[in-house]
Symmetry: C4
Subunit: 310 residues, 4 copies
């Protein structure tokens, strides 16, 4: 009989010698509960990742601020050169000239170039020609990043809030449910469920890869109930609710899919802790058929009913 | 003897407890016949997917309308500021000033900037500088999406309208034919055929993955006849035409390929219902050889001739 | 003893009932020798593929011509509206006015907008505002395609002109050699060799997948000699040079690799006909070591020397 | 008992008939120590690869220089045509006119188009219209490449400086450690370790693929210790430190991962020479748990302590 492969958990740095219960390695939103220390700023930084992951508001604030600061810098340069070397500057005070130079800079860096203000001498021309080149490059980056953010693939899989232990054929099964709420198709969906439990009389944790009833579907139009059959060679065979709680069990889920809108692979992650498992409950059927075809009530994803376990 | 794996169909939410025959899970164009209910607008929406999938006409109408509305908004702003703070506005009526402001806005947002109209005071300059920044960002998105639409990979595989049951070696086979009508190469083409049939004396459906004579080809220059040999362990072994109709059979096809033009994976889907299967017909040879080489008559993809079944 | 899997060649439409010898399914440059007939223009066309695959000269000619024609069209529109509604048009003859309108159009569509010519009335403004919008969209497409062409991944694998039959361990082997002449890395290189031979006393062809000494390498810095060992279960076991010629043998090679510069998979194809195989020759060693390290003389890729076959 | 597959090393052109010890095939930074000779310039060149791989400073210098040279060329053209055919050129000397034409060219190629200088006659208009078209195309390429560089995926895996031979279960193991210092997630991480050793009494080298305790992890949040168990069928079973040095052993590591920020596969390469292996040392635990959760001290990646070998 093939036993489930037991893997040492500590070599991944996810947990080791945890003094107490209640640890969650993977958060519900797919982020990991591990901090990295003593990584130099240079090693850690990943500008592209930061810019692509930040909220839209922050992105636009940084963009707007950058635009403002660059125009301040170039307005200062035009003032140093002397606004008498720009046509169409009529301000007599320094502050008025600065404002006019500021907007001339804005017209130059966006390559708008109304021309009511224009550079006259060599220095002003050099600054303006440099600014327009810089503008093209910076806006290429900014707009590229904006489109990159907009077209970034992301898995939109929604998980049932709880998992259940329900009868499955002659035995029981660990089950949870996922839906694809979006209209885009997910194809070749692969699911991977790992169990992390505390080793008996030890601070260390063991890490098991769980066998699934089905670990891959070719298409995933709406909903999928993922089942780990608790057969004799399952690491949770014979365990009761209180055992899972004691062992501080965590079921770590990673789903991979090909998203047809983005033509790219996307990954989704979530986890279920022992406290998030309902024993002796079964997920309700969501599919319904009327004259207009089949429909799935996604809002009832968490609906369960009581059943007797095998 | 290895039996075909029978998979419960209902866990995918494609069909369950269907009260009658005549249901099609997958349409000929690859879309699914399942509606999703009670998905919040926020969860459902996928702007990128919508914009990339809509028809070109709709895309250009939205773009044109957006351009029009934004110019209306900014023209109003310039009017609120007062068109006396723009050079080159000669209109004396509000409506004339609005029209001139509208086109000034258009010249600003596209960074065209003729300069025959130009902002004079602080407020007009702020609006114009903001508009040109906004213009760069919005046009980056619009043109990015346009290019994204244009360069979006899509599988262009054409399916034979009908499938056939024809002799295959000593037994019979379920066969259909696909062609690649385009000039681009499809590589590593993988095909996956699933059968959905009604369970006897039940509303539920069973779902089988069908074994194929060949499920992958390294290159696919023109045409491929895909064959499921109806051997003893086929789920349709021994079934007759009327049985397949009774069981409301549906053969669901998913084809994956690497498209060399787009350097990306593409997926194509279609299905054959029991009514779309011709029994005792065979596909005609399409390849022909003359002095200028081999040619395939793609127009004859549906041509069949009668044969005796084994 | 596992026999090589024999596959029917005709279901791929590559060849069937060929009346004579001398047919080549795959050209040396990786294109296929099969024409498709009766494909409607709409089905066949793939604008993206055409634009991305055409030679650079053709691409620039089409671009330049398009720019010229669009300016002709818009210049005509401005003339119909009347050039008196544009400032700065001084031409008195129709032809002069057309030329000035033509360049005004060019300044508008590129969003250059000098402003020495500018629209005055409503009609001219509408045309100019539309033209600048159109310009942004068209140039986004044109420049996107230009960058798409430039950054398109392509396999740059170079094949030895001939293949050889040389001793390999206790038996003989069919061998050819590939090099990566570029400085970019190819990773996870997979090779696939298929043999197409005429069936005895028949016009049909058989298609075999050949077993290789090694069909995948993790990295491919310079050169690789690909070997098909002619063991007892090889389809060419016991065949002589004249047999391969009689059977009009063709060895079809498909190589897949991950190109690190483009971060994408690339495919390369080629083929060897019976005439392009040297019997009793072995490829010369190309690697040489001196104080500055190892070097490979890529220019000697085709160098062979005579050996006795097993 | 399955023996490790021994592969001939020379067919990859990585080394052959090396006259002495001390050769490194793969550098620590993942580049290969093999030169290619007699590759024609045309075959070798890969402009995209060069531009995407060069340092940022070089990229900007080339860009700036290109901008300068193109403006010189077009300024010369305007001078040949005669600056009297441009409005707003006030220079009386050739040098002044050239400078003004230079900046007019800069305003044209960036589509800035202030308009204080503008073309008047046919020739000047043709040059300006051509220049603005060229500008759009060249800047599309330049800014596309800039964004391509910025968004290029790269594996940021950090390797322990040394590898160790440490006890592993009842035997010993060859171990090294990798960390992901960045905040982006790496998924489906696959590792591949190959050993290259000199053949006894020969100049040739043998090449082994090493079996690993675990060769793939689904997610890789922080750190991973990769272990090759030195079992009886390991090619280094029974070898001592001096044997590995004698055989000039090199352990070549290739890691593949899916980078979630870039939604693409990335590869990382490194190698360990016999001199870089510490015998009888074990890597220190880096994970630590306090009230704020788990943390990994990445700075201690190289920390080892002495242990007795089995």
């Amino acid at each position: 009989m093939k036993r489930f492969k037991k893997e040492k958990y500590d070599d991944l740095g996810l947990d080791t010698k945890s003094p107490s219960n209640g640890y969650r390695a993977l958060n519900k939103d797919g982020t990991f509960n591990v901090r990295k220390e003593n990584v130099s700023f240079f090693e850690r930084m990943n500008i592209f990742h930061s810019v692509v992951s930040m909220p839209w508001l922050q992105f636009f604030l940084i963009l707007g601020l950058g635009y403002f600061i660059i125009n301040i810098v170039f307005a200062s340069l035009y003032l140093i050169i002397g606004t008498e070397h720009l046509t169409g500057i009529y301000g007599t005070t320094k502050i008025d000239q600065f404002i006019e130079a500021f907007f001339f800079s804005a017209q130059t860096i966006t390559t708008l170039g109304y021309g009511q203000i224009a550079p006259l001498n060599l220095a002003a021309n050099i600054v303006a020609a440099t600014e327009s080149l810089l503008g093209l490059l910076l806006f290429a980056l900014a707009t590229g990043l904006m489109y990159g953010r907009f077209s970034k693939p992301f898995a939109t899989i929604k998980y049932s809030t709880v998992a259940v232990i329900a009868p499955y054929n002659e035995i029981n099964g660990f089950m949870f449910r996922v839906v694809n709420p979006k209209s885009n198709q997910l194809l070749e969906v692969e699911v991977n469920v790992n169990l992390s439990i505390k080793r008996e009389n030890s601070d260390l944790r063991d890490f098991y890869s769980l066998e699934l009833e089905r670990s891959k579907v070719v298409f995933f139009p709406t909903m999928w109930t993922i089942v780990h059959p608790i057969s004799q060679n399952s690491p949770i065979y014979g365990l009761k609710k209180e055992n899972l709680l004691e062992k501080d069990a965590e079921f770590i889920v990673v789903i991979k899919a090909f998203d047809e809108s983005f033509s790219q692979s996307v990954y989704s992650r979530s986890s279920y802790k022992a406290e998030e498992i309902k024993w002796g409950e079964k997920f309700a059927y969501l599919a319904k058929r009327d004259e207009s075809g089949i429909s799935i009530d996604v809002g009832r994803i968490d609906e369960t009913f009581a059943v007797d376990l095998n």
